[in-house]
């Protein structure tokens, strides 16, 4: 049987760090292009988004979600380690320590 202190220590350590990168309008709102977020193990992309909207308020929410809902605007792009979450598990994509999340407003041209 495992000593109880070990279990606690393990639970306390079950926090992961992910990096969020963003650009343009979203970067302006949060005041930086890159931030580190500590979340509990097993958290998803959705957890990070909720944490961000809680931290950065209505201005960010109105940039990301359809008015009065938690539905992401169709042109907001989310990626984990460079791959669109469309090809992972969408908003339910589980994050791991060291993952990099890209949160991108629409861009075109070129």
């Amino acid at each position: 049987m495992l000593p109880i202190s070990w279990v606690f220590r393990t639970l306390r350590l079950a926090v992961i760090k992910v990096k969020v990168y963003t650009i343009l309008g979203v970067k302006k709102i949060i005041g930086q292009g890159e931030l580190e977020v500590s979340i509990s193990q097993g958290s998803t992309v959705q957890t990070v988004l909720f944490w961000m909207t809680k931290t950065y308020g209505d201005e960010l929410s109105s940039h990301l979600f359809e008015p009065g809902t938690v539905n992401l605007l169709p042109h907001i792009r989310l990626m984990v380690n460079g791959r669109s979450v469309r090809f992972l598990n969408g908003m339910e994509t589980v994050l791991h320590d060291g993952d990099e999340v890209l949160l991108l407003p629409p861009v075109a041209g070129g």
Binding site: I23, G33, L73, N81, G82, R86, F87, A108, G109, G110
Partner: protein
Amino acid sequence: MYKGGYRGKILRINLTVKTSREEELPLEVARDFIGGAGFGIKYLFDEVKGGTDQLGPDNKLIYSLGPFTGTTIPCASRMAVTSKSPLTNGVGVSLTGGYFPVELKRSGYDVLIVEGKAEKPTYVWIKDGEVRFRDAGKVWGTQTTDCQQIIKDELNDQNVRISCIGPAGENMIRIACIINERRAAGRKGLGAVMGAKNLKAIALRGTGSIDVASKEKLKAAIGEMQKAMKESPLLYPQFAKIGTPMVVDLTCALGIFPTKNWSATGEFAPVDQLGVEAQMTRNVGSMHCYGCPVGCSQLKLAKTGSYAGTLTEGPEYETMYSFGGQTGVDNMDSVIAGDRLADELGLDTISAGVAIGFAMELFEKGILTTEDTGGLQLNFGNHQAMLTLIHMMAFREGIGDLLCDGVKAAAEKIGKGADKYAIHVKGLELPAYDVRGAKAQGLNFATAYTGADHNRGYAFQEIFDIPVPYAADRFSTEKKGELTKWNQDVQMAVCDCPTMCAFILPMALMPISTQNTAALMEAATGLTYTPEEIEKVGERANNLAKAFNVREGFTQADDTLPERLITEPLQSGASKGHLISKDELKLMLDEYYRVRGWDPKTSIPTREKLVELGLGYVADQLGV
């Protein structure tokens, strides 16, 4: 009988004998190819024989308009310029906007074909169909802005519209472009064709009107298009204010903004120096093409050092890459100055920047030394050296003479394994997408009929995440052959033929692309198409362009990518670890040839496919 949109006429000019004649534009050519690049490819294939010297009198320079140009359809003042490319030896198509295209339509023509070679420097002056050959001695050697102004003054008409070359075109450098106003038919070295013909400029003044088949239908169709444009979260709120360079921020974030001759993508990502925040400190206004409510083109003023006071229209995204990331330069003002200098001297900014970055890598690797460079320290990031090289290339001076015909030719001359660092496909330098992190974009670079060309089959699905016709995982090879065919055919049919600004498609028109074109075609010209038939026009033009290249000796082996992209995975950034391996490329190519109906071994279109597209005579010529 034409009901509208078209003028129904071709103007053919022969510089050798100084003659001009008007010809009818056959209705079936209009129906099958719509216009613009479609007409350019059709007349190039039919009139320029296999093996023609690109810089000889038998090559032709074809200016062609679409039926939308000059009507009230927004964003349609576009024109294709087509010739056999001195850079790639294949089809050279480049599109430009501004005001010259509408002036050509008002002059009474859909197509202008320039043949032969003038005995001495000449410019052609066309006033409502009256053609004059004028001595260009006075403007030979001038930069493009001065050239246009001097000709306007000489003709005593400030409303004349002019398409011209700078010293780069006169010196027949194979990366020279053609400039009208401050817009460029930039790529594939078409300026050299003009220079080889001793043709400094074409000046136009036209006062004719352009009819449409049904004003009511056109109003309704434009209403639908404008609705989509207004609903775009991007077009007016962002793109109109920032323009194409906003893509710097995106591709840096995706880890695909190519830097230091594609050796440091992801690692050197100068978004703070060249991205939107930095750009906005230099913006002083914007410019619109004729009839465009968007006006994406930004005027930028350099503010520091010896560059202070230089104004340019641009730099566009591609130039932020070519004179910025690609050369390791992160000094915004030098990129502004480089953009203006290249426009004035008449060089394609993409090919010029790629050539400079190529030389810088060779210098850093010791393959080129100060002995070769005439003492220039060609290290990455040396912005003064970059500006010097632009000048030296335009005038074929010193090492500029080695680089000015593109990286493929330069690598062959240099030897010593330099070809490993030459970033081109079919001789055309790569644009600003490190396709190791965008595989359909890579397949398009490998297969586009013009070489590595972002405008001939842009993978919006990967770069901008637009899920039409379906979403695409940028790291996967799955269904990329089918996607690339769709992108190439639809962009040809919706943008390059009618002609419509290519920026409007991803920002507003993707879901209604071919329906929108069909509705506008019926309203403007009276010609009716189903959306599928519109797409077929694109397929027909792409097959004919491919056939031209086959006739010139291109083989399946030319559908490839630079070695670096196949063998060296990206080292940093959001695309870290990715590349397009040889096997992946083969997999995508096999699928692409299959969906195209081309022989998978040779890549040549099958007779069956050509006949299906009404190109049986092409099958006969190719012997398939």
